[in-house]
């Protein structure tokens, strides 16, 4: 296993730059997800790592070995990377056995290795099947086995689960994560699915316009997004307009809220960002003579998710916010509610 380092990478097609001065460090055995919307350059990043595209500047190192850099170039076949492309891309003319054995020599040890990885991905017994005969999930498993068979230093996953249905997706995702942790492969996954990135990776690198805007552990990313767009991109954001004077709390339409972080130096008009689960809905009538906290509003719609429900609430100030409440809550559309805040907010320039 090896670490991966991209330093100052710029790359593109023809005169169109796609990656601009990109830096990323992946530790040995770490699982990093590169998260970005389509067109952000995440696939290009993968192609640079695999050696399908020569960067115009910067260097790529696997451990101590530079595989791409000034005067250095290691071609894809000598990089020892494994790749699982979208939809698997199994060789349609080869059966499962030959697909998985493609990266191995013809020795007996190889045959054993093929059995071993097929077993690993839960596809033992499918060696004679042809790709056309497999379901989408099975094809992905075989593609993973094929990538793992030669014991790659680095594993690259290119939206490997996106073509699968929801149930299959989460199941396979968990299995793959568990398997990769067990064998300790350094892994880079690119995806546009933030839920996937958060649930599977040790760290998530958020990509935008060819650069990484934030690289952090999933919880960190969720709790402390580097900027407003990351906040919106990662999970559901409750945005409240406010004025901030730089102190440790900010006045919002839900009352004063502690400031945890956000974009440094933002004072004046800001947007305070909370997560829906930080909000609590209570009866709008004041309790005793304690001063009323939070803000009031009207429930516009309720979407039921089993374990919880998501309320769309229009506040008295006219702002629309989303609030997560327990699934058994009996609040109906039209109800008047009071919304309280727990925890702290991040503030960003408005």
């Amino acid at each position: 296993m090896t670490s991966v380092e991209l330093a100052g990478i710029s790359a593109g097609y023809g005169s169109t730059p796609v990656l601009v001065d990109l830096n990323l460090q992946v530790d040995s055995g770490e699982f990093v997800a590169v998260l970005g919307s389509s067109g952000s350059g995440k696939t290009t990043l993968l192609r640079v790592l695999a050696g399908f595209l020569k960067p115009t500047a910067g260097s790529v190192s696997f451990g101590n070995m530079m595989v791409s850099g000034p005067g250095e170039w290691v071609s894809p076949e000598h990089r020892h990377v494994g790749i699982v492309p979208q939809e698997g891309a199994l060789f349609p003319h080869l059966d499962v056995l030959r697909n998985v054995g493609f990266g191995l020599d013809r020795s007996a040890a190889s045959a054993q290795r093929v059995d071993e990885v097929l077993e690993m991905v839960g596809m033992a017994g499918f060696a004679a099947a042809r790709p056309q005969e497999l379901s989408g999930g099975q094809q992905q498993r075989v593609a993973l086995a094929r990538a793992l068979a030669p014991r790659p230093e680095v594993l690259l996953l290119d939206e490997p689960f996106s073509a699968l249905d929801a149930g299959m997706r989460s199941m396979l995702r968990a299995e793959v994560r568990e398997l990769l942790t067990r064998i300790g492969t350094t892994t880079v996954l690119v995806t546009h699915d933030q839920e996937e990135a958060l649930s599977i990776a040790d760290r998530v690198a958020v990509m935008r316009d060819g650069s990484l805007v934030q690289v952090a552990a999933p919880a960190m990313l969720y709790q402390d997004p580097a900027d407003l767009s990351v906040a919106r991109f990662i999970g559901e954001a409750v945005e409240l307009r406010a004025m901030w004077n730089g102190s440790d709390s900010v006045d919002t339409s839900l009352g004063p809220v502690a400031v945890r972080g956000g974009e440094a130096g933002a004072s004046g008009p800001v947007i305070a960002v909370l997560r829906p689960e930080q909000l609590v809905v209570v009866d709008p009538r004041p309790v005793g003579d304690a001063p009323a906290r939070g803000g009031t509003g009207t429930v516009r719609s309720v979407s039921y998710h089993g374990h919880d429900s998501l309320l769309q609430v229009r506040l008295a100030t006219g702002e629309d916010i989303a609030v997560r409440v327990p699934g058994e809550s009996e609040i109906a559309p039209g109800a008047s509610v009071r919304v309280l805040v727990t925890g702290a907010a991040n503030v960003y320039p408005a």
Partner: protein
């Protein structure tokens, strides 16, 4: 079709493609040499003759009629044999492909022998339609088989009748294939001399031949031939425009299904059978029966079976060698245009097609000119002959190669690289391995056309090397039709083998089809005929 845009093609590939392109451009280069040597006065006088333009108009009209005729016959026939429960439809598809094996001059001779009064524009149009509609039928049949049925089903659910749904959804998906086939037909009609001369149509090629035959005038013939090149370029451009405009409708990325067959009523089934039977009678029945009658008519010469066998072997061998060379030349060009599209590579392809409208005698002379002036020791050797076939029919092979390579996702090749293959073996073990049935289909098309070729064969064959086409020619030259008949029949039978193989690519049994890239591979194989 995925392209590796922005990535520079490897140098050896560029070098190989440049070599192929230069070879493909030989006929055009020759024309330029001749036209330039003609001088402005001669160019003008050739161009300003009223007859030049009258015959051009005739040729264009003939082309139009033949193309329309081919579409009118081939599209319903293709729909019948791929999308209806017509009895024996797989057999019909194969039989309907067989006219590819009949040279236009043989069909024309055979028809005139039976119906001497046949002459003129419409007779020529009929025969040209009969021998060239398979160029439209095969790709359209392929496209109809692989068209996404979901769209047609949506149209049905929106209230269209089965026929209206087919016409408004599936048929448009087959139009690019029909256009590609029509281009081949159009170029074929422009370059044809056999049928138009036998039916005495004042077509443009007759003027070119008259230039050689009557006045031994190479230069004005070249000037006239340049007009054909120009027309060909316009056609190629128009077809490309059309192809670019039409959308590819594949929407689902899941497992591909094939559309259910339309159930014919008793009446429509009979009509359908009458339709395909009439086509077969006109295109194959009459010529073959006529030739068999000539056989029994006898001759002062007895048939030398060994001579016939030798000519058959020679025909097959020379054409096969030509097909192999054509595939080899087409590979780098097809690869370049499929994977690294650029103005340069598209221009190359167009240029290769441009020569396709030239009558054989011009191509033959261009290769005489080239070999005698550069590699005289290869002049009139089997190699030059095979090479000439390759150059003559290269566009067919390039199209097939391009579409079948374009249909293989580059990700397969890249994955193979990460699994330790160098660029070349990654390419051979994935892209080439998957695309090669389509590439081979292009080779079959070259094979079959080369067997029927005559003018270049006469000029470039090794002295004493007789093929079925030359033997047939030498007998019909002196009106020995009876003696020629066995050779004509042998030629048809021989060319029927690759024609049959081609139709097998389309009519073969399909099992459950899986991954998306696999579907694309498959349809590309079928596209190749028209590509």
């Amino acid at each position: 079709m995925t392209r590796l845009s922005g990535i520079r093609p490897p140098r050896p590939l560029i070098a190989a493609a440049v070599v192929s392109v230069c070879l493909a451009l030989i006929p055009l280069a020759y024309l330029i040499v001749r036209v330039v040597s003609a001088g402005p006065e001669k160019i003008l006088s050739s161009l300003l003759r009223a007859r030049t333009w009258e015959t051009t108009v005739t040729s264009l009209a003939l082309m139009l009629v033949v193309v329309i005729g081919c579409l009118v016959i081939a599209i319903p026939a293709a729909a019948l044999v791929t999308r209806s429960n017509l009895p024996g439809r797989r057999m019909w598809l194969t039989v309907l492909a067989l006219p590819l094996a009949i040279p236009s001059y043989v069909a024309a001779y055979a028809w005139i022998a039976e119906f001497p009064a046949m002459t003129g524009f419409w007779a020529a149009a009929l025969i040209l339609i009969a021998v060239s509609y398979p160029y439209v039928l095969l790709p359209v049949a392929a496209a109809l088989r692989t068209a996404d049925p979901a769209i047609e089903e949506v149209a049905r659910s929106l209230g269209r009748s089965p026929f209206a749904a087919f016409r408004s959804t599936t048929l448009p998906q087959a139009l690019p294939a029909a256009a590609a086939g029509s281009l081949l037909v159009a170029l074929y009609v422009l370059s044809d001399f056999g049928a138009v001369s036998l039916f005495r149509v004042d077509a443009f090629t007759r003027v070119i031949y008259a230039s050689y035959r009557a006045s031994f005038d190479r230069t004005s013939a070249a000037v006239l031939a340049s007009i054909l090149v120009l027309l060909a370029l316009i056609l190629v451009f128009a077809e490309r425009k059309f192809r670019g405009k039409s959308l590819q409708y594949r929407t689902s990325s899941g497992t591909q299904r094939f559309a259910s067959l339309v159930h014919l009523t008793r009446r429509t089934r009979i009509l359908g059978l009458v339709f395909v039977t009439s086509i077969v009678i006109i295109a194959i029945g009459v010529p073959v029966v006529s030739l068999v009658l000539r056989l029994s008519e006898g001759s002062r010469r007895t048939l030398d079976v060994f001579e016939l066998l030798g000519a058959t072997i020679n025909s097959a061998g020379a054409a096969a060698a030509g097909a192999v060379i054509a595939v080899a030349l087409a590979l780098p060009i097809g690869l370049l245009t499929a994977r690294f599209r650029s103005a340069w590579s598209t221009g190359t392809e167009s240029a290769a097609f441009a020569g396709h409208a030239l009558p054989g005698v011009v191509i033959g002379l261009s290769l005489v000119f080239l070999t005698i002036n550069t590699v005289p020791f290869l002049y009139q050797t089997l190699f030059t002959l095979a090479f000439a076939y390759a150059v003559l029919f290269l566009p067919k092979s390039i199209g097939a190669t391009r579409t079948s390579i374009a249909a293989v996702p580059p990700v397969l090749e890249q994955t193979a690289r990460t699994l330790g293959r160098n660029p070349f073996s990654a390419w051979t073990q994935t892209t080439l391995r998957i695309a090669w049935p389509g590439i081979a289909a292009g080779g079959l098309l070259v094979l079959l056309t080369a067997m029927k070729e005559l003018p270049a064969t006469l000029m470039l064959r090794p002295t004493g090397f007789d093929t079925l086409a030359t033997e047939l020619w030498s007998r019909t030259e002196i009106a020995a039709y009876g003696a020629g008949a066995p050779y004509a029949l042998a030629l048809i039978a021989l060319a029927a083998i690759p024609a049959f193989a081609l139709s097998m690519f389309i009519s073969r049994e399909r099992r459950q089809v899986g991954t998306d890239q696999d579907d694309r591979t498959d349809s590309s194989v079928l596209d190749t005929v028209g590509a």
